[in-house]
């Protein structure tokens, strides 16, 4: 009797394992949170927000929920994350075959406001403005700042093509600042 029950138990466990291992990874992104040291010891600390997609997890995603953008009429999804502190990457996932492309965002601000377009009624946020099979035009509309960039999916590069900012980028003090008073 005991032997029979143990055998049945082992079989059930094996069947569950096989079922889990054969599970097709989900192509709908799922938001997950991981506690950080700060959030564990301090109620004001924030947990880390991440996305799980096609069986891969991406921690420290940028923007606001749902943290990703659909590219209209394609199977592509876009989101940005920080693999390391201070390094931002744009991820393009083709949900048809669960393939991923990661493109460094460099100086581009795109990604930080993903998820904000609809709640702000298009006044602020990041969107895919237009696109073809291998090129996407990305728009980041920030407060007193607008940036348009082109994502080339073939060469896997992102190029900022337009920036409108109220800040003067060439505010160098070498010529304009006279010697200050001494102590």
């Amino acid at each position: 009797m005991n032997k029979w029950i143990v055998t049945l138990g082992v079989a059930a466990v094996a069947a569950a394992l096989v079922a889990v291992l054969n599970q097709k990874p989900g192509t709908t992104p799922k938001v997950f949170q991981r506690p950080t040291l700060d959030s564990l010891i301090n109620i004001h600390g924030s947990p880390e927000e991440g996305l799980k997609l096609c069986g891969k997890s991406f921690r420290r995603v940028r923007g606001s929920p749902p943290y990703f953008l659909h590219v209209t009429n394609t199977s592509l999804l876009l989101f940005a994350y920080e693999p390391f502190k201070g390094t931002r990457m744009l991820v393009v996932c083709d949900t048809n075959d669960c393939s991923f492309r990661e493109i460094p965002l460099g100086e581009s601000v795109f990604g930080n406001q993903i998820g904000d377009w609809s709640p702000t009624k298009g006044q602020l946020g990041d969107i895919v403005e237009s696109g073809s099979s291998n090129r996407l035009v990305l728009l980041s509309k920030g407060f007193r700042y607008l940036e348009r960039s082109v994502l080339d999916l073939e060469s896997e590069t992102l190029r900022v093509v337009e920036v409108q900012s109220e800040r003067d980028k060439f505010l160098l003090d070498i010529w304009t600042n006279p010697a200050p008073k001494t102590r």
Partner: protein, 255 residues
């Protein structure tokens, strides 16, 4: 009896496996705009376990809910979007990391990040006004006056520090005064953005209670989900209140 233990074993193993492979919390369905998981506090807060503050964050007030650190930081990033704010050119070949310093100043008021050691002091009732709240014994007008005084004091101090920095030659490393000045603006930013929290309107009482139910409620309401709806209003207000001070502090010459 022995047999029933053996029967439970595979069930326990299966349960363990199911829990182990289950992905972490909070699944969001972008199509419906709803969270798929139930509210962890279940029906204690009402029958609908998929709502946050009964989907009415303006009128339903969390007793002492504040924006989390992540939201405070995101407000700064969303306000000062231009990458120049990460290395703002100043005298003495110095590039001021404005956004980082503002976040530092904000963290200081909450007692988080590098200031975790000061958490309880930062959250003490006598500092309630720094979070746009009122301490026991104060009425709303007193709390508001303290709040405004706190902002004015920190901003005046920021101006004073930057004035001093402008008077010094590069030999004296005046940029350190500008660093402090921007951090002071971060202090004021924290109070202003807390005041804009849907959970703060009207200088609510902060009793200093760390009672578990209150803490659970607090944690539950502090998240990134509520923020985008208020983003535009928040960013505009912060900009209106603080940009002129930031420009003054960072100016190489005051005209």
């Amino acid at each position: 009896m022995r047999t029933s233990h053996h029967t439970l074993l595979p069930i326990a193993i299966l349960l363990f496996i199911a829990l182990a492979v289950m992905p972490a919390t909070a699944f969001y369905n972008p199509n419906t705009g709803r969270w798929l998981n139930r509210d962890p506090i279940e029906e204690e807060d009402g029958p609908n376990v998929s709502l946050c503050a009964h989907n009415n964050l303006i009128n339903r007030i969390d007793p002492f809910g504040l924006w989390t650190t992540g939201v405070h930081h995101k407000i700064i990033d969303d306000w000062l979007v231009d990458p120049i704010w990460d290395r703002y050119p100043w005298r003495c070949c110095e590039r001021i990391p404005v956004r980082r310093l503002l976040k530092e100043g904000s963290d200081q008021i909450d007692g988080v990040g590098n200031h975790s050691g000061d958490f309880f002091a930062a959250q003490a009732t006598q500092n309630a006004h720094q979070h746009a709240m009122r301490s026991p014994g104060d009425d709303v007008s007193v709390a508001e006056a303290k709040y405004r005084q706190f902002i004015q004091n920190t901003l005046n101090e920021a101006r004073r520090l930057s004035d001093r920095a402008r008077q010094l030659t590069c030999t004296y490393a005046p940029e350190s005064l500008v660093y402090s000045a921007v951090t002071k603006i971060g202090n004021a930013f924290h109070a202003i953005s807390d005041n804009m929290s849907p959970a703060h309107s009207g200088f609510q009482l902060w009793s200093g209670s760390w009672e578990p139910t209150t803490v659970t409620d607090h944690v539950r309401q502090e998240n990134m989900t509520a923020y985008p709806t208020y983003k535009l209003q928040l960013v505009s207000t912060v900009d209106g209140e603080l940009l002129s001070y930031l420009n003054y502090v960072l100016a190489i010459q005051v005209r």
